[in-house]
Symmetry: C2
Subunit: 250 residues, 2 copies
């Protein structure tokens, strides 16, 4: 039986304010919950009896068996899959020294939860273990973002930082890459396997303040060069193209 107060708590976690207060977040669906359970402490595992019967021995502080009707009250999915988990938000630590051996993503005010989720999935695909988001970026623990990561959130650490200060800290150790209209063709530019790749906001790109800290200006060329086409690529698509080109060079 799931209590009214638990239903209220779970529903409240769609709002950042309550996620911040409680340090909890929600994930739904069999594959996602199974991917995240080994990575995060599970505070509440709420599922139908049928689901629990099929998935025994999962570690959770509290397991709640619910009827399908009650379950649908806490589900955010169009087709509820009978399982929802509340996890404790992780606390990650980092230092510049560690980053100096890796390729890392920095997001300057990405706003769309789906885009952020897709970027986390892309980072995972390309072996990028850390993403640093500016404080005004959409929250990585937004339920829409969590769902869009398709489980990649278990393997990629998402940090929220003052992005300008973060880049200032990294500047002496690492090249800082970013895409600009007047950048150098990524396919002919020298790229390193250590560095920070900054991606900008959906509408406005990289902010002026952040842009000043970018040391390597890149351009993703369109085709045929100079032809009028779409003015820009979706930020997740651009992230994938850049990460692929860094990794292709290995």
């Amino acid at each position: 039986m799931i209590s009214k107060s638990k239903i209220k708590l779970i529903n409240s976690l769609s709002q950042k304010k309550f996620r911040d207060e409680t340090r909890l977040f929600v994930a739904e669906g069999t594959k996602l919950v199974m991917d995240l359970i080994p990575a995060f402490q599970c505070s509440i595992l709420a599922a139908t009896s049928a689901w629990l019967k099929d998935h025994e021995g999962l570690k959770a502080d509290e397991t709640i068996e619910t009827g399908t009707d009650k379950f649908n009250k806490i589900s955010n999915l169009k087709s509820p899959q009978g399982v929802l988990a509340v996890f404790i938000k992780p606390e990650y630590h980092w230092n510049v020294q560690e980053l100096s051996h890796k390729l890392t993503l920095a997001l300057d005010d990405v706003q769309d939860p789906g885009n952020l989720g897709t970027i986390i999935r892309i980072a995972d695909w390309f072996g990028i273990t850390d993403i640093f988001c500016s404080e005004s970026s959409v929250d990585a623990f937004n339920p829409k973002t969590v769902q869009a990561t398709m489980g990649a959130l278990a393997r990629v650490k998402v940090h929220t930082v003052n992005l300008v200060e973060f880049l200032q800290n990294c500047q002496s150790e690492l090249p800082i890459y970013g895409t600009f209209m007047d950048g150098e063709n990524i396919y002919s530019k020298k790229l390193t396997q250590q560095g920070i790749i900054v991606m900008g906001n959906e509408g406005n790109g990289i902010s002026t303040e952040t842009g000043k800290l970018v040391t390597e200006r890149l351009l993703i060329p369109n085709y045929p060069v100079g032809q009028i086409t779409s003015e820009s690529l979706n930020v997740a698509v651009a992230t994938a193209l850049i990460c692929a080109e860094f990794r292709r060079r290995i």
Copy 2:
């Protein structure tokens, strides 16, 4: 003044059934409408007086001035921009001969309207002028798809075809590329600038029947190779990575 019957017509166009019956589709927002007006015949241009004052001389079969309240009744956007246009769906013709000089996309049952819109935008970016969708794919004139194209729909022709028959027709003239788990690393494989690139469904990839017609099996490698990461990339992201690699080779 916009009549009740016009409001009803416009709202009905969110459903494929009515788009098919009337051969009309809807686009919203200043940039999108301005991009599409030169490309398609505009049946109805519905806008607030303020918007029309700022955008004079646009060609439409019928221009309807509406108050903001009435406009909000036809708008599908969270932040209505005061302009919505109803366009006549284009009728495109094609032949294999023409395609034999180009790179073309074929979509095998892409279901998400946002993904299709993003793929159309990617095609535009990479100079791909034609996309062939299987009959069970999401409709390219779905309002969510149209919005997600960000205007690229004006430059990319989207055809709906029996995909198996289409590929059978192309087979003798063109290589047919597709991505599979057991494909050849796209970064080391020989690629041509003429061909059909088949992209599969979000959950199931390329169907068995379609897969049999693929002559060149590709793989997008993850990094580090062999490491457990996300099992797949979003279909729009994968499309972008493949198109970029074809174009980079030029």
